[in-house]
Amino acid sequence: MSAPDDLVRAVEATLFASEKPLTAEEISRHLGGAMVRSALAELAAHYEGRGIELVERGGRWHFQTAGDLAHLLRREKEDVRRLSRAATEALAIVAYHEPVSRAEIEAIRGVQTAKGTLDVLMEAGWVRVAGRREVPGRPTIYATTPEFLAHFSLSSRRDLPGIDELRAAGLLDPVDDAYALLTGGEDGDRGPNSEKEDESS
């Protein structure tokens, strides 16, 4: 094993000591402006297969224990929040469709989504307000956070399980679009509880 150079050691120590994940820019700033990309790549390769791994989540880097050791490390008292079904579905919809308005979440779920559900996801730090959609009523739109990616071990949203297949199957397109595509016709009468276009709540 060749000894790591000073920059690699510095990046390693910085990430190891940091209380939160760091972007490459933050590491660079901490190290006086050094170029750290290749050091990060070298470190990630070095730690591959070890008990600790260096991972990138939403542009931020951190060390974490290897996933396959979960059975050894899992603690008796899980401090991970267990989500309700409503919150899980809402989270999945935000993650796969982001940015989405609450009306769009409700359109997919076919049921009104309590304000508290989104609050829980925001409190967990997984969902954030991502502005307003520039349509009448200017509804608030929501998106996921880097903490969401870190929590679910996703490097980026492209890592969301099955997202490519869902997109290819058109399942991330609104019903109206899919319907228009399949029938080539105009939108007609809709069933009950169909998409509410306006953010009424």
């Binding site: 559900t117 679910f152 319907y179």
Partner: protein, 273 residues
């Protein structure tokens, strides 16, 4: 239908749901109805019934699904379960859809019953996709459950240090300002011609004599023609001294003073002894 969800109850141990609903295994009806509260609206119930067909959502029979849903609602009503309005609205719409699908086709109808059924199917697919995605998400390695961060990091600290700057001009200017600000202040009173109180007193007393007529105080001043008395400063001094002299005479009971209005002429006359 509003979820009765407060933030805390969402994480409550009783109603946890951390993956696919436990609907896959076939159950007897009684168990099915007990789950009623667990469904999040009619679409959710329809999706669950569709999954019981154990076929791909793209190939489900909407007619079968409608029958199952209506049968479910009928039996729930028979068991006197309270059904939220959404379920009944959906039941009515599905019954209508079923009749359209079974009756001879009206070619004028837009959209066609098949298209309505397709729309329902698309919605079920989308909900199904998201439910599955949520389950797969929850099954990933999760931070704090499966993978862990370093528990006791040293932490990175940035100590801020000030580097002070100042230039020489500022220092010198500041010193100049201090010296100027605190330099002893000397007050100089200029010497000038005045009419003393003594001379005013004797002059006013003499001019007043024993006249009982009111006279303007200003008439007691020496005339401008007299040498030196054209100086306005001296005249102001004389007026002030004469006024004080008049006050003194009034105090001694030798004169009285009258002023009709504020800033009006001051009148003086001798008081009969």
């Amino acid at each position: 239908m509003e979820e009765a969800a407060s933030p805390s109850s969402l994480f409550d141990g009783d109603e946890v749901w951390d993956g696919l609903p436990a609907s896959a295994p076939a159950r007897d009806d009684a168990a099915l109805y007990l789950e009623l509260e667990n469904w999040e609206g009619p679409l959710d119930l329809l999706l669950d019934l569709a999954r019981r067909q154990k076929v791909d959502l793209r190939t489900i029979s909407i007619l079968d699904l409608v029958d199952q849903y209506l049968g479910y609602i009928d039996r729930a009503e028979a068991m006197r379960l309270e059904l939220a309005a959404d379920y009944l609205v959906m039941a009515a719409w599905l019954a209508y859809l079923k009749s359209l699908l079974l009756l001879p086709r009206d070619p004028e109808m837009q959209p066609s019953p098949e298209e309505l059924a397709l729309r329902l199917q698309l919605r079920l697919q989308r909900l199904g996709a998201m439910r599955e995605a949520g389950a797969r998400l929850m099954g990933r390695d999760r931070l704090g459950r499966d993978v862990f961060l370093r528990a006791a990091p040293e932490g990175l600290r940035v100590d801020r240090r000030h580097r002070w700057t100042c230039d020489l001009f500022d220092v010198i200017q500041a010193y100049g300002a201090v010296k100027a600000r605190t330099a002893p202040v000397v007050h100089m009173v200029r010497e000038r011609a005045v009419m003393t109180l003594e001379s005013a007193l004797s002059r006013v007393a003499a001019l007043l004599g024993t006249s009982l007529e009111w006279q303007d105080l200003r008439s007691f001043l020496p005339p401008r023609a007299e040498p030196g008395w054209e100086d306005p400063m001296l005249r102001r001094s004389a007026l002030a001294s004469s006024f004080v002299a008049a006050l003194e005479l009034a105090k001694q009971g030798k004169a009285e003073i009258l002023q009709d209005e504020t800033f009006g002429p001051i009148l003086v006359r001798a008081l009969a002894a």
